[in-house]
Amino acid sequence: MSLLELRGVSKTYGEGGLAVPALRGVSLTVEEGELLSIMGPSGSGKSTLMNILGCLDRPTSGTYLIEGRDVSTLTDNELAEIRNRKIGFVFQTFNLLPRATALENVELPLIYRGLPPAERRRMAREALEVVGVGHRLHHRPTQLSGGEQQRVAIARAIAGNPRLLLADEPTGNLDTRTGEEIMGLFQRINAELGVTVVQVTHDPYRGRQTRRIVRVRDGEIVGDGPVPEAEFVSVEAGTTQPAGTTQVLALGAAGRGEAGARP
């Protein structure tokens, strides 16, 4: 059973003569543990595809299965539940709550899951350590650099142990060096935590930092294939990481495996 499966998914905005098709009969399968990019020029329908994959929107026709369950006909509340438990979002503009601290931002999805305060604080703190901002728990977004903000956003996305991490141009607002760090983080999360990562990008270089590229144009998939091993850019061993971060990452990842065993 695949993690995600789109079967002939179409999305049309507007009605009658004003109808604008955004997706036309898209079929796509994503297996558990994949690291892939959706690429395409603006207006190609990649954002619509992203919204449907993220359960923010429903297809006009076709079916969408998550772990074999059809979610294309669920109610708003049921979709909210799936977003909360199965999916983590990372946005180009970070989208952190400006008045909340890093810790409070990461706790947000866990609040809506109904977890008790002590447990969600523990999970949020662990997630922040995994992404390397465990030392910034009580800072507000304005007190953090762009890279740190995006790390907090990633922590928010993975705090609830989702199956799927959806990232919409995650490096678009960051300088090259910081973008590199963030891509390294995605590769790490994918490899070490086994979370499926799907990013939308228009940058071919960022695409080659994932294992598979799906190309979208005019609402249709025009290309889908693995990135050849020779072209794949791994940033795991990159030197752009600050020295201490790797250690924090390793600690955090270990902690998630056996909670409570950490010093």
């Binding site: 923010l56 509340n77 909210a80 909360n84 979002f89 989208n95 709550l97 947000l108 809506y112």
Partner: protein
Amino acid sequence: MLGVIIGVGAVITLVSVGTGASREVTSQIEALGSNLVIVMPANARGRDLRTTDAESIAERVEGILHAVPVTRRSLSVVWTGRSRDTDVYGTTEALPVVQSHPVAAGRFLTGEDIRFFREVAVLGAKVKDELFGVRDPLGQQVYIAGHPFTVVGVMAKKGEGGLFTPDPDDRVIIPITTAQRLFRTKRVSSIYISVAKDYNPDLAVSHIRRIMELRFNDPGAVQVFSQQQIIAAVGSVTGILTILLGSIAGISLLVGGIGIMNIMLVSVTERTREIGIRKAVGAKSRDILAQFLVESVIISVTGGAIGILLGALGSAAISRFGNVPSVISAGWVLVAFGFAAAVGVFFGIYPAMKAARLDPIQALRHD
């Protein structure tokens, strides 16, 4: 929030001053004596009452303990150069019983004082303080309208007079016979009647009214009313006042509520992106609804609490500087608080629903 503060503050101030005033009036009237019935000449075409009317009421109506005629003038009372303008009451020996106002020192008037036109006086507590201070007034001579009177007693202190009744401590009491000769009149200002405990005062009122009608051959000649009727009349007046002022306060609460709705609508617009983020991470519509509803209730309840505080201060200030007593009732505080919360829910529901209905994709794009 200001509207709610003003509204709740006004409710608390007005109601507490209102209740205080009406309670004060009621207690003053009750202090006049239990089971009291008063007979007075009607205003316009009133006939004069005489001492004999009091006597005939006492004889002919069942259940009457005392019928005390009173004739009243405002005069100066003088003692060794000190003088005070006060009410001079000409009356009989039963006044302390009828008005439940006992003597503190010396004695009250006796039947003999009245029969022999004696020139004796009993001072109210305030008059005694004013003229004699700490000195003993008993046996001293005071001058009323140039005539010497011997002080034989001092009345007990009864407390301040109010808005509607004369001060019971600011008067001098002399025999009615002496008073009528001094004032050169046979008239009686009013007759105070006490009804026995197991008799219905209202029944006595209608009996007395019948007797007076026969006596004057005119149904409108005199006014007869019992203490309960006075209390009821005062109560209905203050009740109307309370309703009137309360509705003004209600209007300002309404305005405050609309203000809160406005604030919340602005807040929903400003925080559209936040709502989008919350929905993206799994908030359901009802979570967003609850969040905004709670916020508007917090605003209105905070306003309400400040209003209660200000209202308490305001009524304390009014009772201190306006010399009107005020009573803050826990019931009204609860009502005002509940009302503020209800305003928050009622005027918060529309903005909150607007927030809850937002589409997450649109909301995330908003900036």
